[in-house]
């Protein structure tokens, strides 16, 4: 869409609305500092509704023309011009919805944290950066937002975390900043190599191996892929639950999105078998580590690493694999957020996340049992849930591209993921004496679990809604 040749001024509208999509949370961050709790809730609801309406405006446009974008020159040096380029496309449209729902949902979930307003302000800033990174269609702009998302996350873990929050926050910062340095160096090498920074130019370029390697390693820290994952377990365990939701639901996805969009658009620098091997290593290692966990949050953290391994697996493949990888970013975001929300409420009631101390708690709480069954089934990838479609697409990509051996190996994880989730469920349902909690009342935070579950089921029962758009990724 030409910027100045648009008779309906749709482009102006796009400029305004796409900008509003990432600035609205920033505006919210400022506004909530002006009032009390009720005002903060009003701002949160207004921001969520506003962003959702913008998304609903974007959806038919992207469906019809595959892209809504704007590009305004930002700054330049030499021959290189960096654009303030934003856009909604099949690659990011569903991730934008995920950010709107999970970002605002996590803020709502954390409505009872101490020091609410600074917490909300930081969460809004984090959401704004994530939205900006998803929207950016210029690699420099993407990097700016990508970096900006680290700072509030670090402060949130540092200030609202558990007993060892400082250690976890510093480890998070060291790892992710190291990753960012790699991304920055790769990006600068690319730019000085004369490759254009805007989406089309960057993705059309045959980037040198060094650039792809640096970007891949940098984003792999954020995704994370084994062995660059060590920050995640501690960060999840020590972070407050709303931050875990954002971390697993959005920030990890930022790494995956970076890999799929900026690092491997037309992947030819490396053999796909290298990536597939790396993905399989990550898949099995994280599964094994998850199998031995007794802390529910750590268990979910490692299952996240295991599930995220489908992103490099799918990203290395054409068509179905790539579709599956993008779909996985969305569906796993929902499942992991739902699981963290559920564990957070358990922890709130029983002051522990230890499986050995929580034996039998589901016996007397049918509603919580229902959540556990549905969320665990969704995470195992049972038909009817979105993750099933994502993983099947990746497996299909593997089968049609590299053969049954790799499909079989990756499919073995279907069995292994069932092992640790069902064992954890058995512990929660049977045996022992349930600890005395404050009573599992109907908490408003449960709304987030329902949203995640309903969307997960919708994406599993009617995946066409997603796949009709994702069919255009990479094109």
């Amino acid at each position: 869409m030409g910027f100045f040749s648009d008779p309906l001024h749709l482009c102006d509208m796009a400029l305004f609305l796409l900008t509003l999509l990432w600035t609205a949370p920033l505006l919210g961050a400022g506004l909530i500092l002006l009032g009390g709790r009720r005002w903060a809730l009003t701002v949160l609801i207004s921001a969520t509704l506003g962003e959702t309406l913008i998304w609903l405006w974007l959806y038919p446009q992207v469906k019809a023309q595959n892209l809504v974008s704007i590009a305004v020159p930002w700054f330049s040096w030499g021959q290189q011009t960096v654009f303030y380029a934003l856009g909604a496309s099949p690659e990011n449209l569903w991730l934008l919805l995920l950010a709107i729902l999970l970002g605002n949902g996590a803020i709502f979930y954390g409505f009872d944290v101490p020091r609410l307003r600074p917490f909300m302000a930081l969460m809004f800033v984090s959401l704004s950066a994530v939205m900006g990174a998803f929207l950016a269609r210029d690699v420099v702009l993407f990097f700016v937002f990508y970096e900006a998302s680290l700072v509030p996350a670090f402060v949130l873990i540092y200030l609202w975390g558990g007993r060892r929050r400082a250690e976890a926050a510093i480890r998070f910062a060291l790892f992710t900043l190291s990753g960012s340095v790699l991304v920055l160096v790769g990006l600068l090498l690319g730019l000085y190599g004369g490759y254009g920074s805007v989406w089309e130019a960057w993705r059309a370029s045959q980037l040198p191996r060094a650039v792809v390697l640096l970007l891949t390693l940098g984003f792999a820290v954020k995704l994370p892929i084994v062995p660059l994952h060590s920050w995640l377990g501690e960060a999840h365990v020590e972070a407050a639950t709303p931050i875990s939701i954002v971390l697993a639901g959005l920030l990890l996805k930022l790494g995956g999105y970076g890999l799929l969009t900026w690092s491997w658009p037309y992947f030819s620098a490396f053999s796909p078998l290298f990536l597939i091997g790396w993905g399989l290593l990550s898949l099995f290692y994280a599964t094994l580590v998850a199998g031995g966990q007794t802390d529910l949050k750590r268990l979910i953290a490692f299952t996240s690493i295991s599930h995220m391994a489908y992103v490099p697996l799918g990203g290395a493949l054409p068509k179905y694999g790539l579709m599956g990888a993008y779909h996985q970013l969305f569906t796993h975001g929902l499942v992991s957020a739902g699981l963290f929300a559920w564990v957070g409420l358990l922890e709130k009631n029983y002051q522990t996340r230890n499986l050995r101390l929580l034996t039998g708690i589901l016996q007397t709480h049918p509603r919580w049992n229902l959540y556990a069954i549905l969320l665990f089934m969704a995470a195992i990838g049972v038909p009817g849930f979105g993750l099933f479609i994502s993983e099947l697409l990746v497996l299909w990509g593997l089968g049609t591209s590299v053969g049954w051996v790799y499909t079989g190996l990756a499919a073995t994880n279907l069995l292994l993921s069932a092992l640790y989730f069902l064992r954890a469920y058995q512990k929660l349902l049977t045996g022992g004496f349930p600890p005395q909690g404050a009573g599992l009342f109907l908490a408003p935070q449960e709304a987030l679990i329902w949203v995640c579950l309903l969307l997960s089921i919708l994406s599993g029962l009617y995946p066409q809604l997603w796949l009709s758009l994702l069919a255009h990724v990479g094109s």
């Binding site: 580590v289 199998g291 016996q363 038909p383 479609i389 099947l392 049954w404 499909t407 069995l415």
Partner: protein, 451 residues
């Protein structure tokens, strides 16, 4: 679209649902939902042409079966364990199955996946374990809604068998049938024995994969009659008595089930004879009581027997002398007492499964150690980086304090000496003031003159 297995599944679910309404005192909602979902999964598998949708059906039956088995008796440790074994072993088969489904040209996965799903020996142990589920649930899972899918896949899609050594598969299936029949013979728990016979009958159907219409025929007859047998056994178990109509219905069902067998191969015939013998011996599993009442629920299994006989009549019965052998087995079984001791021929496999889980636990512990080591390594790397930064900072401090600060002090001193040199009249207050005045005047004159 006519789908024989789906038709059979609908009839069986209908009968079992009605039976369940009377059989279970409470909690019928869960069963009704489970039955509907499992039927939906079978419909997905049988009706869809899309591989992913078919796999959804294939996996869906396992997932719903997990719920039905786990909650069938109120989510006890034992029922959850049974459901766990059933689900995980099925998932192992699913991994093979999906590898074939999504990798054109490699068809072994269909056979291996089907072998697991249909619980053919030696992978039959999970089916015996899930016998902890209530009778109506077992009736569904053993007839047309779980295990039958493993056999039905290659029947519906003969292309899946392309390039495979069918003679070897047939031989393996017959051997599996014989082993399962022996397992049934040695079993003392009635439900377990019945589960073993399911494994044997399905293996006999699998042996006919090279002739899909025949395999489908035996599979469907088995589905109806096995569901009926389970429901009849449930009635006998409920009162721990055989009433006369129950016994008669049982005999009719096993008689027609035996007649559905068509193979004259020695292994098949032996398996069929031993299975018939075991099923007939059920007459002696519970005492016979002419006054026992069970007529209330009897119509439901009778409907299924009727449907089984109708299915059998569709193909007709070709008499052969070999068919006498299973009938002799039935006659012998009717007069043989129920065994006192129990042998499980799949005990080594169960032990192997337990060993596998131990290996899994060991691997998870090792992985945790590796993870802790990795974390320490990263911490060391980062800490050495931080130490390096600290050293740099210390060096910088030394540079500032040891070199730059003294140098700057000396420079300042020299400047001071230059700007305020010691006057010839000595360091008095007035002298310094005069000197300062002269210097300032000098600077002022220069500034005015030049600027």
């Amino acid at each position: 679209m006519e789908e024989p297995l789906l038709q059979a599944a609908c009839f069986i679910v209908g009968s079992v649902s009605a039976y369940s309404a009377f059989y279970f005192g409470r909690g019928l909602g869960l069963y009704a939902a489970g039955y509907a979902l499992i039927l939906g999964a079978v419909a997905l598998f049988t009706l869809s042409g899309h591989p992913i949708v078919r796999f959804a059906g294939w996996e869906g039956v396992s997932a719903v079966a997990w719920v039905l088995i786990a909650y069938g008796r109120g989510a006890t440790h034992r029922s959850l364990e049974a459901a766990f074994i059933g689900f995980t072993i099925n998932r192992l088969g699913d991994a093979f199955w999906v590898a074939s489904l999504l990798s054109p040209g490699w068809n072994w996965g269909f056979i291996l996946g089907g072998w697991v799903k249909a619980a053919l020996f030696p992978l039959s142990f999970w089916l015996v374990q899930v016998m902890y589920a209530p009778i109506p649930v077992s009736a569904l899972l053993h007839s047309a809604l779980l295990v039958a899918l493993g056999i039905y896949g290659p029947i519906q899609n003969p292309g899946w068998l392309e390039g495979l050594p069918l003679d070897n598969i047939r031989w393996a299936a017959e051997a599996a049938a014989l082993a399962s029949a022996i397992g049934a013979l040695l079993s003392r728990v009635p439900k377990s024995a019945l589960a073993w016979t399911t494994s044997a009958h399905l293996a006999l159907s699998a042996a006919e994969w090279s002739n899909p219409p025949l395999a489908q025929h035996t599979l469907l007859v088995h589905a109806y009659l096995k569901a009926a047998l389970f429901l009849l056994l449930g009635l006998a178990q409920k009162s721990l008595r055989w009433s006369p109509p129950l016994r008669a219905a049982w005999l009719i069902a096993i008689g027609f089930l035996t007649l559905s067998s068509t193979s004259a191969a020695p292994l098949s015939l032996a398996a069929e004879t031993i299975t018939a013998f075991t099923l007939a011996r059920f007459w002696r599993a519970y005492p016979y009581d002419v006054k026992a009442k069970s007529l209330g629920l009897l119509p439901f299994p009778l409907i299924l027997i009727g449907l089984g006989i109708f299915q059998l009549s569709q193909k007709g019965f070709a008499w052969q002398w070999e068919s006498l052998l299973p009938l002799v087995g039935i006659s012998a079984g009717l007069i043989t007492p129920w065994p006192k001791r129990r042998y499980r021929i799949d005990a080594p496999l169960l032990g192997f499964f337990a060993q596998l889980e131990q290996v899994w636990s060991l691997l998870t512990r090792r992985a945790q150690k590796a993870e802790a080591g990795l974390l320490i390594l990263y911490d060391k790397v980062f800490m050495s980086g931080l130490r390096g930064m600290r050293r740099l900072a210390w060096g910088e401090y030394q540079l500032i304090e040891g070199v730059w600060r003294p140098a700057l002090g000396r420079l300042r001193h020299l400047l001071a000496l230059w700007v305020y040199p010691p006057p010839p009249w000595g360091r008095t207050y007035q002298g310094a003031l005069q000197w300062a005045f002269l210097v300032t005047l000098f600077i002022f004159v220069i500034w005015r003159y030049f600027f």
